[in-house]
């Protein structure tokens, strides 16, 4: 190679080299222009297409695909009864409840960064949150009020489902799941009550768990409890508190139930609840009214 280069004329070699480079540069420029052009149409890029599988044109098919191919939206059907979209039938309470659960998860995770579930630290952490952490007070307030609001919206959701008879066939099972979710919501709120480790939470949980002493068979002050071998140190209240008084173990248990166990259980029940809403035929109405004369005879075995 080196010998070949030596034999050629120096000037001719140089022009060929420059020409080659220029050609390369022009090629690069064209590629760069292509890239710039593609920036003007980001929806045509491989990156975009790999994330969004369908174009968002205003065509019915694409609108439907936008729902069906999105993991967050696919709980929705592609189409829905035109009257069910109006606020007056559902009051939106189930959706608001779920949204509040998301808000609570988000604010709750942020609060966990500042909180130690120990008798020494817990109360000080709340003071720290309220006085030193940027927006800490707002964070705690939002978590508190979202929790209270969620109880109200759960009750209103149940109220609406009852008034519209939506628990009737074929949605009987989903109503049961809903009742369990209501219980879990109230338990979530109750376990959270103890965590600030102040007088309010301490006495509320003391009153609440004292009732567990009286559980029939399983509480040491309940009917047939002592006969069943229950004492203050092995009954159901002991299991709840991790001790015979509301103390550090109770704080830790409330924390674990509140932040991990109940949210997980509630998450599973929510998945079933939403799944069954769809599988039982979507939202229950507004359905066409039925008349008394149209009642069919019940099937007998």
């Amino acid at each position: 190679m080196a010998d070949d280069l030596k034999e050629q004329k120096p000037a001719g070699k140089a022009t060929a080299l420059i020409g080659g480079v220029l050609k390369e540069v022009k090629g690069l420029k064209d590629k760069a222009l292509d890239d710039v052009q593609s920036l003007k149409k980001p929806q045509k890029t491989q990156l975009y297409k790999s994330i969004f599988r369908v174009t968002h044109d205003e065509k019915p098919r694409n609108r439907a695909l936008g729902i069906l191919s999105n993991v967050f939206l696919h709980l929705h059907p592609a189409k829905i009864n035109r009257d069910a979209v109006a606020y007056n039938y559902t009051w939106g309470m189930g959706g608001i409840t779920f949204y509040l659960f998301i808000v609570l998860t988000f604010t709750g995770v942020l609060l966990m960064f500042y909180y130690h579930p120990t008798k020494v630290q817990a109360f000080r952490d709340i003071l720290y949150l309220e006085h030193d952490v940027p927006f800490g007070k707002l964070l705690r307030n939002m978590h508190r009020w979202a929790a209270h609001l969620m109880i109200i919206t759960v009750w209103l959701h149940m109220f609406r489902v009852f008034l519209t008879g939506s628990y009737k066939k074929p949605r009987e099972f989903n109503w049961m799941v809903g009742v369990i979710l209501m219980l879990l919501t109230m338990l979530l709120s109750f376990t959270g009550y103890l965590l600030p480790d102040d007088q309010l939470g301490f006495w509320a949980v003391t009153v609440g768990t004292n009732m567990a002493r009286a559980t029939p068979l399983l509480g040491h002050e309940g009917p047939l409890g002592p006969e069943f071998g229950m004492t203050a140190f092995n009954d159901v209240r002991f299991a709840l508190l991790g001790g015979s008084i509301v103390d550090s173990n109770a704080l830790l248990r409330a924390y674990i139930w509140h932040c991990i166990a109940i949210p997980l259980i509630a998450g599973i029940f929510m998945a079933v609840h939403f799944w069954r809403v769809r599988k039982d035929g979507g939202i229950s109405g507004p359905a066409p009214v039925m008349l008394e004369s149209e009642i069919k005879e019940p099937r007998r075995f």
Binding site: N81, V85, I152, L156, T164, A214, P216, I245
Partner: protein, 311 residues
């Protein structure tokens, strides 16, 4: 009248949600019933005119031939959901900026709060402790409330009113639910929040909470009022009274449940198990108002006294 006292209870940060509840429940009751009555009027018209029933779309919502029955979820539903999420976030933000979550002194087992109240949504249970022993008020009745709610769909054999508001077609179900939810549960929450003061003593709204107030309530047991002294006698007497109560209540429930021809038709659709379950839960539910009257008006603590349990 001690308005300051009332104002202090009402504006306690943790009581603000219940004030909200007191406003919101009547609103939604009205909002739901308004649609129910509108549907009932439509049902009346359709029943009077069978020809119209064949062609009518059977909703109170507007309808014109040619309109699509369904709309696309995007944008028609998703934009609503997005809007609602924004509104809820806004409300929460304003609420959280203007009102601080309560924080009392550090937990102190040697300094009892008086009154020591549960969070407001559990005050119904705490108020029940006045009328029943803890095993009943704190364990058995809450369990029965939950189980009773869960079996509602399996006891309700009325096929009408599935997926639309109606009052006319579901009178008994709606009255029963209103009684349980609003008259019993919510009013107990309200009593527990606004009426019960130090020592869980009854203070009327606007009455000053007197921390030194003592009431020497001469509570008595029903068997004692009849001069029954032996434990066996008390047990048998109490069983008889509770049994009689159950019988009378069950008869009353039956009377209401089979009030008119339509109700009897629904009754005939029920299996024996369904009917027995319905009676069991409704009679159990009526234990509470009965015991409230006995306790608040006649100062009766127990009706049924046995060596193992008292009711």
């Amino acid at each position: 009248m001690d308005w300051v006292q009332l104002w202090e209870i009402t504006t306690l940060p943790d009581n603000v949600p219940i004030v909200l509840l007191i406003l919101v429940i009547p609103f939604y009751t009205w909002y739901g019933l308004r649609q129910a009555f509108a549907n009932d009027r439509l049902i009346d018209r359709l029943e009077a005119d069978p020809e119209m029933a064949k062609t009518h779309h059977r909703k109170t919502q507007p309808w014109k031939p040619g309109w699509a029955r369904e709309v696309q979820v995007w944008p028609y539903l998703l934009r609503m959901e997005f809007l609602v999420a924004i509104i809820v976030t806004f409300i929460l933000m304003v609420w959280s900026i203007t009102l601080d979550a309560p924080l009392e002194e550090p937990a102190n087992p040697s300094l009892t709060m008086n009154p020591a109240k549960a969070p407001w949504y559990f005050l119904g249970l705490q108020e029940m402790l006045v009328y029943f022993d803890p095993w009943m008020a704190g364990v058995v009745l809450p369990t029965l409330i939950l189980v009773g709610l869960m079996v509602i769909p399996y006891m309700d054999t009325n096929p009408l009113g599935n997926g639309y508001y109606t009052y006319k077609q579901r009178k008994f179900a709606i009255w029963a639910f209103f009684f349980g939810f609003i008259v019993l549960w919510l009013s107990m929450v309200v009593i527990g929040t606004f009426i019960r003061g130090p020592g869980w003593i009854w203070f009327w709204p606007g009455q000053t909470w007197d921390h030194n107030k003592l009431i020497f309530e001469a509570n008595r047991d029903l068997p004692d009022m009849f001069g029954i002294t032996s434990m066996l006698g008390k047990s048998l007497f109490g069983a008889a009274v509770v049994g009689l109560f159950a019988l009378v209540t069950a008869l009353g429930v039956h009377k209401l449940f089979t009030w008119n021809a339509f109700n009897r038709k629904i009754y005939n659709r029920m299996s024996l198990i369904q009917y027995v379950l319905l009676q069991f839960f409704l009679v159990t539910m009526m234990l509470l108002p009965a015991k409230m009257v006995a306790r608040l008006l006649f100062r009766i603590k127990y009706v049924w006294v046995t060596p193992w349990f008292n009711i």
